[in-house]
């Protein structure tokens, strides 16, 4: 990646300080068009612009496109928050953990258990979930200090099963149908359904997105990326690997837990069944399918994976009827088909296209760039 962060506190002083990102854009006195041209001259920026425009267009569509689209938008926003949380750990710090579902469960159950206490009023449970997620994330990071890779994956698997077992046991004793979550309400405004709910989710997503963007612009983000590339090299360069790795786990846990709290608000209850292994896998799939290297990729992946079942539900039935499976086949077997489909996507993306959609777009952009530069050099007489 070509991020050049502007601060460098946790990292040893570097001899030369690179230009902050976008400095070329701000310093020049030219007109708008040349500036834009220069901005998009850098490889990768076109791809990111395309992804950002698509996401914003989708978000606006969900805001004004009627109740069904709004419903899809709500799920997308919740899982986008979770994906941002997971991408801090997987994309930035390079630690793969299969405990996203567990952290979402922690957030959801925290929200449910605060029901009836002094901390019940709406935005407070979100903050408490954030805090609880941070603490559990720190604890979950402890195995990550001793080892990475396979052993870390197994440790996170253990965490996932333990959290779900605890939630299941709690539920079996106290609330068989799930822990009820109160309706979100802010200053007399009902945020529990429709556009207000969607806008609330979107606001949280934007705060989380730009918050993590700001954090990763600083030396913290640089430290995480250094750890991702090589822990040994990072340690040699003066990065406190232990500390920043733990913070990556904590930050990821906090944001994923926040997403769980939002999820509970959308559904109206916290039920352990929603947060099983399949969810953890789906979250990781989002990161891989969107593009593991960027937050924008995580958002894209979250939207793709969340919206896909709805799209299939709408458009697959005629196709299925055509091949003789019956139009209701998908609806009847939805959970199995989705699980199988996501698993297959996950398998293919991890093995063959680890940079996901972003990687494909970047490849397309490179091809396009070569074509365009070939064309311009031919137009100008082949002198350049």
């Amino acid at each position: 990646m070509t991020h050049s962060p502007s601060g460098g506190s946790p990292v040893a002083a570097r001899p030369t300080r690179p230009q902050p990102r976008g400095a070329d854009l701000l310093d020049s006195d030219d007109g708008v068009l040349p500036r834009l041209a220069r901005y998009f001259a850098k490889p990768g920026r076109t791809t990111h612009a395309v992804m950002a425009v698509a996401l914003v267009a989708g978000a606006l569509w969900a805001a004004f496109g009627g109740p069904f689209i709004s419903l899809i938008g709500q799920s997308c926003a919740v899982f986008a928050v979770a994906a941002v949380g997971q991408s801090i750990l997987l994309g930035s710090a390079g630690q793969i953990a299969l405990s996203g579902g567990a952290f979402m469960a922690i957030g959801a159950f925290t929200t449910g258990l605060l029901n009836g206490t002094a901390l019940e009023p709406f935005p407070v449970p979100l903050l408490v979930s954030l805090l609880v997620g941070w603490v559990v994330g720190l604890i979950a990071g402890l195995p990550g200090l001793r080892f990475r890779g396979l052993y870390l994956l197994l440790a996170s698997l253990a965490l996932q099963f333990m959290v779900i077992a605890l939630a299941r046991n709690y539920q079996a004793e106290n609330a068989p149908a799930g822990v009820i979550v109160p309706l979100p309400e802010l200053g007399g405004l009902d945020l529990s359904v429709g556009t207000p709910l969607y806008l609330m989710l979107l606001t949280v997503l934007l705060i989380v997105y730009f918050g993590s963007w700001l954090v990763e612009r600083t030396g913290i983000g640089l430290a995480w990326r250094a750890i991702r590339e090589s822990e040994v090299a990072a340690a040699v360069s003066g990065v406190d690997v232990t500390r920043w790795k733990l913070y990556a786990f904590a930050a990821s846990g906090a944001i994923t837990s926040l997403a769980g709290s939002l999820f509970a608000y959308v559904i109206g209850r916290a039920d352990y069944v929603s947060f099983d292994m399949a969810l953890s896998i789906a979250l990781i799939t989002m990161i891989f399918i969107g593009g593991i290297r960027s937050r924008l990729g995580a958002l894209t992946g979250a939207v793709i994976i969340t919206a896909l079942p709805y799209i299939l539900q709408n458009y697959l039935s005629p196709v299925l009827a055509g091949i003789g499976l019956g139009a209701d086949w998908y609806v009847n077997n939805q959970s199995q088909v989705n699980a199988g489909l996501f698993s297959l996507l996950f398998l293919l993306v991890v093995l063959f296209e680890p940079d996901g959609v972003e990687g494909l777009l970047l490849k397309a952009e490179r091809v396009l760039r070569r074509r365009v530069s070939g064309l311009t050099s031919r137009l100008s007489g082949g002198t350049t």
Partner: protein
């Protein structure tokens, strides 16, 4: 009927099933440094193919077991060659992660074909033996015999045949054995086939004594992880012992606290072992530390 003796019997049988799965994990891990998350998927496949053979085509028991083992073993090997081989040699870790996806695909396929409701095989035989106060049904005896036979066969294969020698060589030092003319890719494919076969036998053993449903059986594959971590990831014999220890602990938890604490305790044990002794009881110490 003696409760303790019965609990011991139950622990042994559960342990053998975990052990069978665990041996597959260990074989794969030794051959390709890939930790397969889809052993549960192959076990599921084995259980349902066996179910199909026993119920709708009414094959004799032995034929069913053999056919199931061969089919799943071959399938596992082919899946490795077609899907994983190209990537596995370079990125063992990415392949391990990708096997999680394969497990999901297999589980969904079986769930689509057979539904998610538990299916029960007709009883193999109503004969039961009484040993030291415990009742041992025929099905349990067959399950344990299958496990023991498989372990003996695999250990003998590793110890006494040229193929076993090659597998040990690759496990010990893959690049050196490549230089000495051993095809690590072929060894890995064979290891996948053997692991698939072992998982299929575990599936058969499981379906003999309990009803099978896609989610439950696939979860057994994940529950074998505490067993292999206990035994050590690269020890074939350790996997069986780890399985039996885990089975014993689970039975003890079930008797004292109730069945719903089993998951929690099993995975807590796994986490503790990972923290204090990641190589397990019999494994080689080979953990990346800073």
């Amino acid at each position: 009927m003696n409760v303790l003796a019965q609990a011991v019997e139950g622990s042994l049988v559960t342990g053998c099933i975990y052990g069978l799965l665990g041996m597959g994990f260990a074989l794969l891990f030794r051959a390709s440094k890939v930790l397969s998350f889809c052993q549960g998927g192959f076990m599921l496949l084995g259980a349902f193919i066996f179910y199909e053979l026993q119920t709708s085509s009414q094959q004799p028991l032995l034929v069913s077991v053999l056919v199931t083992t061969l089919v799943v073993g071959a399938f596992s090997g082919v899946v490795y060659l077609v899907v994983f081989a190209r990537v596995a040699s370079r990125h063992a870790f990415a392949t391990s992660v990708a096997t999680i996806g394969l497990a999901g695909v297999l589980q969904a396929a079986v769930a689509l074909r057979y539904g998610t409701a538990p299916l029960t095989l007709p009883e193999v035989s109503s004969t039961a033996f009484h040993v030291a106060g415990a009742v041992i049904p025929m099905a349990d005896l067959i399950a344990v015999c299958l496990a023991v036979l498989t372990v003996v066969a695999l250990v003998a294969l590793l110890r006494f045949t040229p193929l076993g020698l090659r597998m040990n060589a690759v496990a010990d030092n893959a690049s050196l054995s490549e230089h000495l003319g051993v095809s690590a890719a072929r060894v890995a494919a064979i290891a996948w086939a053997l692991a698939g076969a072992a998982a299929a036998i575990a599936g058969v053993a499981f379906s003999l004594r309990s009803s099978v449903d896609p989610v439950g059986v696939a979860n057994i594959g994940l529950f074998a992880f505490p067993a292999i971590i206990l035994g050590g990831m690269d020890s074939v014999g350790g996997a069986l012992l780890g399985g039996i220890i885990l089975g014993t602990i689970q039975n003890a938890v079930q008797v004292t606290f109730g069945a719903r604490w089993i998951d929690l305790v099993s995975f807590a044990i796994m986490l503790v072992i990972l923290l204090i002794r990641p190589s397990g009881l019999f494994g080689k110490t080979e953990v990346v530390r800073l």
